[in-house]
């Protein structure tokens, strides 16, 4: 069988480093194949082989053959494959060429020389198909993340490609927007018979939709099989599958519905005791904080207390004011009114150097903090800047992420290591309060577990930690308290057991299966152990 796209014995290497080897993969018509694996194993490379961006935009040596409908396309540059393969990258905004939604949808067709009447018709059809007709004249930069992602998908659909290749389409989206985008993709597969290849390391939402999973292993080989078969022993697995493995359910549940049905077979478990909220010492007290950008109220009269030794998780839609609040607490972001008090000082009135010793902040793009050529130089500069003893920063780094080569360029670090480096630099100034803006971006399950450990350690040392995230499962693991923002206002706050379990979109998978008060697989594991004993 040939399929729509077939990879034949694909190998790819940079100098000595082998990324892919002996990869054979056949995609059939109307199939959704999920490419999964740990961060940095070559998921994007595999996608790039099909779009032609690898090796043209990455360098390296590609061997083997790519067949489309039985004809070899491996020699063709991406532009000559544009009418056959549609590609949407990780950051849709970075790939937009035009200004408005409508022009962006037409861009690909213009390049292919499609007749004007056909273009007009396809733009209208695509607007309807993706449910973005009301956005047609909008400036692409003013759209929300989910809308941008749907426009990006639409803009490659207009050329009627045979295969749609998506690189982490939901990684930057809040849970609801991600559901929207995934629903759209599923509809394309079902209604149009489009073949979709989708890379993702946050599996919990995608797995139910996948026909097959291509698991990229660390050694460059790719294993392709039914989701159940792959997930049975995959190193990356959603909590649902972890739960299934733990309870030895057979077949392995892939959807919450399956799992709920099988959960009836579980023995009676003692629910985890509600954690008694300890009396903690408040370190940062914010009262009535309001942030206004132009005419847009980003944060409206928010009260927030961060206490020593506690981790507060800030959640909410994209654009609900999480970043604005974080920057206002740190003092750099201008607040319109309200007070922020850290150790009796208002960080907004302090000089940057003193601000750093009060509140530490790791921004969304941790790379913005880094500017030197080696990890060692970065650490030395951080020590000098914070007037800390030499080796302070390196010591922190070794605790957070041991074994990073001091001569490496910060850009060559993995996502998680780079975050650890940025975190160590910020912590060198010994702030009692630590703010993290979307730290889980680009981290796989192992990376997130590592980050959860780091955050717990920092809190145990008596720091107050606030972190913003979309990742419900991560929040369930680390949070002592959850604050949900909407339209710049606090809509709910309290213990994760209350806040997360209450909300349909923020409930973690384990809660969805077993109901409150269960939050994470580890609790179930402990309870099971108790029963079996």
């Amino acid at each position: 069988m040939t399929g729509v796209i077939a990879l034949r014995d694909i190998g790819f290497r940079y100098d000595e480093h082998e990324v892919l080897r002996h990869v054979d993969l056949t995609l059939d018509e109307g199939e959704l194949v999920l490419v999964s694996g740990r961060t940095g194993v070559g998921k994007s490379t595999l996608l790039g082989v099909i779009t032609g961006l690898v090796p043209r935009f990455t360098g390296g040596v590609l061997t083997g053959d790519v067949l489309l409908d039985g004809a070899s396309i491996v020699e063709q540059p991406p532009r000559e494959r544009a009418h056959l393969v549609g590609y949407v990258g990780q950051d849709p905004l970075a790939g937009f060429v035009a200004d408005t939604v409508e022009e962006e949808l037409a861009y690909g067709m213009e390049q292919l020389g499609t007749a004007p009447e056909t273009m007009r018709r396809r733009v209208e059809e695509t607007l309807d198909l993706l449910g973005i007709a009301d956005l047609r004249a909008r400036d692409l930069r003013t759209l929300s993340g989910g809308q941008q992602q749907r426009v990006a998908i639409g803009s490659v659909l207009t050329t009627h490609p045979r295969v749609l290749v998506l690189d982490e389409p939901t990684s930057a989206l809040d849970p609801t927007a991600a559901e929207d985008v995934l629903a759209t993709i599923t509809r394309l597969v079902h209604d149009l018979g489009l073949t979709v290849l989708l890379a993702e390391h946050r599996l919990e939402r995608v797995v139910p939709f996948a026909d097959r999973i291509a698991l990229v292993a660390g050694d460059g080989t790719v294993r392709v099989d039914e989701p159940r078969a792959v997930l049975a022993d995959s190193p990356v697995a959603p909590p649902l599958v972890d739960l299934g493995r733990l309870a030895q359910w057979d077949p392995l549940p892939l959807t919450v519905r399956d799992a709920r049905r099988q959960a009836r077979t579980l023995p009676d478990l003692t629910p985890p005791a509600a954690t008694v909220s300890r009396e903690a010492m408040p370190v940062l007290a914010a009262r009535g904080v309001t942030v206004v950008h132009g005419h847009h109220v980003a944060v409206r009269e928010v009260d927030l207390t961060l206490s020593a030794g506690r981790v507060t998780v800030l959640m909410g839609r994209n654009g609900s004011g999480k970043s604005s609040l974080i920057w206002a607490l740190q003092g750099t972001g201008k607040r319109r009114s309200g007070t922020v008090d850290v150790d009796g000082d208002d960080p907004a009135t302090l000089a940057p150097a003193q601000r750093r010793t009060h509140v530490g902040l790791v921004p969304q793009t941790a790379a913005d903090l880094l500017y030197l050529e080696t990890v060692a130089e970065e650490c030395a500069a951080a020590d000098a800047g914070a007037e800390a003893g030499p080796g302070t920063c390196r010591g922190l780094l070794d605790r957070l992420a041991p074994g990073i080569d001091a001569d490496l360029h910060p850009r060559d670090l993995s996502e998680g290591q780079r975050l650890a480096l940025a975190l160590s630099i910020v912590l060198t100034a010994r702030p009692p309060v630590l703010l993290l803006d979307e730290p889980t971006r680009g981290l796989d399950y192992a990376g997130k577990a590592e980050l959860a450990r780091i955050v717990a350690d920092l809190a145990a040392e008596g720091r107050a930690v606030l972190l913003a995230t979309h990742d419900v499962e991560f929040a369930a693991h680390v949070a002592d308290e959850v604050v949900v923002l909407a339209e710049g206002e606090v809509v709910s706050s309290g213990s994760p057991r209350r806040v997360l379990a209450e909300s349909p979109s923020f409930a973690p998978q384990v809660t969805k299966v077993l109901g409150p008060p269960w939050l994470v697989v580890e609790e179930v594991a402990a309870a099971l152990l108790e029963v079996r004993r």
Partner: protein
């Protein structure tokens, strides 16, 4: 009156604006200049559309104002005329011999002030006309209407225009982020802290954009054979040479006349041939191109007529077009027509498809 709302062809707006600017450059009559500025402003107010450039007019007004002020201040500082009514007798600052010919301060005459004012007004009017075109027509759409052969260059320019706001955005982000950590605080180190992340970010974005454009078919070769490509290349090269030589000869009176007009003409003809040849191999189409209808013709017509009448005014009614600084300037009926005709597009063109929004609402 001109039918359904739609955006006017950008070339029509630019022709109109250039016509007004031409007329403005051919006079120093402050009344006429103010009238032209007024017409441009009226049209902008009536017909600017919702695209981001629609908000740029205020900036141009500010720039025009600064120009006038600067012009007058320069006249004050560098003095000039000695004859005339002295308004303010400032002492002249003696300068060394090598600066002979340059005067600093000295008596301020009403004549010098007025001359500066008129001159400044003329420049300001031209700036305002360009600003009007910019806020009426999206410059990106103008670039998109270039002939197919120049499409690649047009796209490169569009991308460059888009990069600037992004660069500003990334600069702001990096500046804020760098304040979160210690490190070099002065000199090269500080510059490096700022520049390295911004440049790395810009590079990454550019690569992402290039990859995005490539996967969507930008720069597909179409069906041109090497022979055709060679022909197009040589035609364009010959045209460029011809135009360069012709322009040089035209500006240098000692060059043989045969090199001036004829060479320039020949160069232009070959250039057109080259563009046509290059355009033929391009397999590209345009989505909803702006139509060219009566309102466009009227708008261009208004621009041309204003320019021609302005030129005619300058030749036949010198005292009106270039009033002396010793008498009150006045307008003739012809000058009035030149000044007011420019407002015609405010009613003769359709309402823009997207209405102007005064302030940006960020989502």
């Amino acid at each position: 009156m001109w039918g359904l709302p739609r955006d006017l062809h950008p070339i029509a707006w630019w022709s109109w604006a250039i016509g007004l600017a031409t007329a403005a450059s051919l006079t120093t009559n402050p009344l006429l200049l103010l009238l032209i500025m007024g017409s441009a402003t009226v049209v902008v107010m009536a017909r600017r559309s919702g695209h981001p450039f629609g908000r740029s007019f205020r900036l141009y007004v500010l720039l025009a104002l600064v120009t006038v002020v600067m012009r007058v201040v320069f006249r004050l500082v560098f003095g000039g005329q000695e004859i005339g009514h002295v308004l303010l007798d400032l002492p002249e600052i003696p300068l060394p011999d090598w600066a002979a010919g340059v005067r600093l301060l000295g008596p301020v005459t009403s004549e010098a002030l007025l001359a500066g004012l008129y001159d400044g007004l003329r420049l300001a009017t031209i700036i305002l006309c360009v600003g009007a075109a910019n806020s009426l027509a999206n410059p990106k759409r103008l670039l998109a209407s270039v002939p197919p052969a120049l499409y690649e260059i047009g796209t490169a320019l569009v991308v460059a225009v888009t990069i600037f706001p992004q660069l500003a955005d990334s600069a702001r982000r990096v500046r804020a982020a760098q304040a979160l950590r210690g490190g070099a605080t002065s000199g090269v180190g500080r510059l490096r802290r700022f520049l390295v992340p911004v440049l790395e970010d810009a590079l990454e974005r550019s690569l992402a954009l290039a990859a995005g454009m490539d996967t969507r078919g930008y720069g597909r070769s179409g069906g041109a054979s090497p022979r055709e490509r060679w022909l197009t290349g040589s035609l364009l090269l010959a045209a460029l040479t011809g135009i360069c030589v012709g322009t040089y000869a035209l500006l240098d009176p000692t060059a043989p006349r045969i090199l001036a007009g004829p060479m320039l003409g020949a160069g232009a003809v070959v250039a057109v041939l080259g563009l046509v040849s290059a355009g033929r191999r391009v397999q590209r189409s345009r989505y909803r191109p702006d139509p060219w209808r009566t309102p466009e013709l009227v708008t261009v017509g208004v621009g041309v007529v204003v320019a021609v009448l302005g030129w005619y005014l300058g030749h036949t009614q010198v005292p009106v077009a270039y009033p002396g600084v010793d008498a009150m300037p006045y307008l003739s009926p012809l000058a009035l027509v030149v000044g007011l005709l420019g407002t015609a597009p405010a009613v003769a063109t359709p309402v823009p498809a997207t209405a102007f929004v005064g302030r940006e609402v960020t989502a």
